[in-house]
Amino acid sequence: MRPDKSEALRARLRKGASSFDFDALIQGVSTEDDATEAGALDDAISTPTSVDDEIIPIQIQDTTVADDGQLKGGLVSALETLGVRLLEETGKLRSALQASDASDGGYYLARVNNVLELLETVDPAGETSRRYATPAAPPPGRVWPRPCWSVYEFTESPISGLLAADADLNFVGDLIESAISSPDG
């Protein structure tokens, strides 16, 4: 790297880094003696004091038996949560793409990808989502769209249908670059 280029990089980094906030990390955090902020959850979670209290009974017996009623309950509500998140993030992705904002678009694309990755792990064929009609369940005969982390995957994916009419391949390139470098990506 030439020295002037290196200086420019330093300046850019400085500018970027100064807008970031690391205070909680650097100073550490504690809510343990804090009665107000985290108090809301006290009913649900008691800080354990003895072994008996520490063991919170769980409803789920066996994660591999998909027909187990209680697991189904847990899985379905997880799929519902993920489905809602998918709809939300897709909505934001669409707005960014319609505004031709590759940087924001990449950020939301990364989040859409992350939700799709999770959905694919817990309900690979989308069957459970379909059966329980959870939000954004894939239609019959279809599976979840593949997460797209490359220009090729994106152009092949139904997600590219969200692009603005005048979007070109350069835009998609910028979009993917932003998605890959997104903190959520």
């Binding site: 690391f22 504690s30 809510t31 804090d34 809301a40 959850l41 979670i45 994660t63 847990g74 959520d184």
Partner: protein
């Protein structure tokens, strides 16, 4: 006892490598050390030579039902060291989704560890997090006393740590925990790369003495050792990667004492 969550939502920044090698170095110095593989990819487990797919119970069973499977029952001894591993499993991905609706979902690991501490004592517990900021990573942060953040000297490092900072602030609104930064660790450092030197200097400028003096240099022997299923320090002690982790262990012990 120090409980260290090795966390960074970015993939491939050497979280797992750091847990494996720092853990082995601490154990070699006589510290009783427990490694926890919270990642559904179970790379740490494989990297320690344990076949997760042959296990009937692993960390996912503990998080789902600690009464039937206490943490103690899944621990595997590693090498001839005071080193143990709580193995991960692919089903942890499913566990994350199943736990989502539960109010205590972020406290499962801490509760399991506290039950273990009533019977066993450790000097160090190192938790390998998945590359995400989901429920599993929240479990690690809530269970931890300290955070160790490995990062590559790249542009995204700042944005990534800013996001992590935001998440920690957000967690303080709903969870009871106390955690402090043990340090930021620069990994995959390439000697003679001006870009790396520049970014490492900026990280130091921002985090000051919270950045470890030790940097982990890129070294092919590290990935070789991973394939062999042993930490680099047990595979090739003279490799630069091994020496970097030895130096890190010394620095970590100094920080813990200071």
């Amino acid at each position: 006892m120090k409980v260290v969550a090795v966390v960074n939502q970015k993939g491939g920044v050497a979280k797992t490598t750091t847990v494996a090698n720092l853990g082995a170095c601490l154990a070699e110095r006589g510290k009783r050390t427990l490694l926890i593989d919270l990642d559904p990819q179970a790379n740490l487990t494989v990297g320690m030579g344990v076949a997760w797919y042959e296990l009937e119970s692993a960390l996912h069973t503990v998080l789902l039902d600690p009464e039937t499977t206490p943490l103690r029952t899944i621990l595997k001894p590693i090498a001839d060291l005071p080193l143990e591993l709580a193995p991960g499993h692919l089903d942890l991905a499913q566990t994350e989704a199943v736990l989502l609706p539960h109010a205590d979902k972020a406290y499962r690991l801490r509760n399991a560890l506290e039950a273990l501490y009533t019977e066993e004592t450790y000097d160090w517990v190192l938790i390998d997090c998945p590359p995400s900021l989901g429920t599993l990573t929240q479990n690690a942060i809530v269970a931890a006393t300290h955070l160790l953040i490995p990062t590559e000297p790249k542009f995204y490092a700042f944005a990534g740590m800013d996001t992590l900072n935001k998440m920690i602030v957000a967690l303080t609104k709903s969870l009871r925990f106390r955690v402090e930064l043990l340090g930021v660790l620069v990994t995959m450092y390439e000697r003679g790369t001006r870009l790396h030197a520049t970014i490492a200097a900026e990280i130091r400028e921002r985090f000051e003495d919270k950045v470890f003096e030790t940097m982990i240099y890129k070294n092919v022997r590290v990935s070789e050792s991973e394939l062999e299923g042993v930490p680099i320090i047990l595979y090739d002690r003279r490799a630069s990667g091994a020496q970097n982790y030895e130096a890190l262990a010394e620095e970590v012990l100094l920080r813990a004492a200071g």
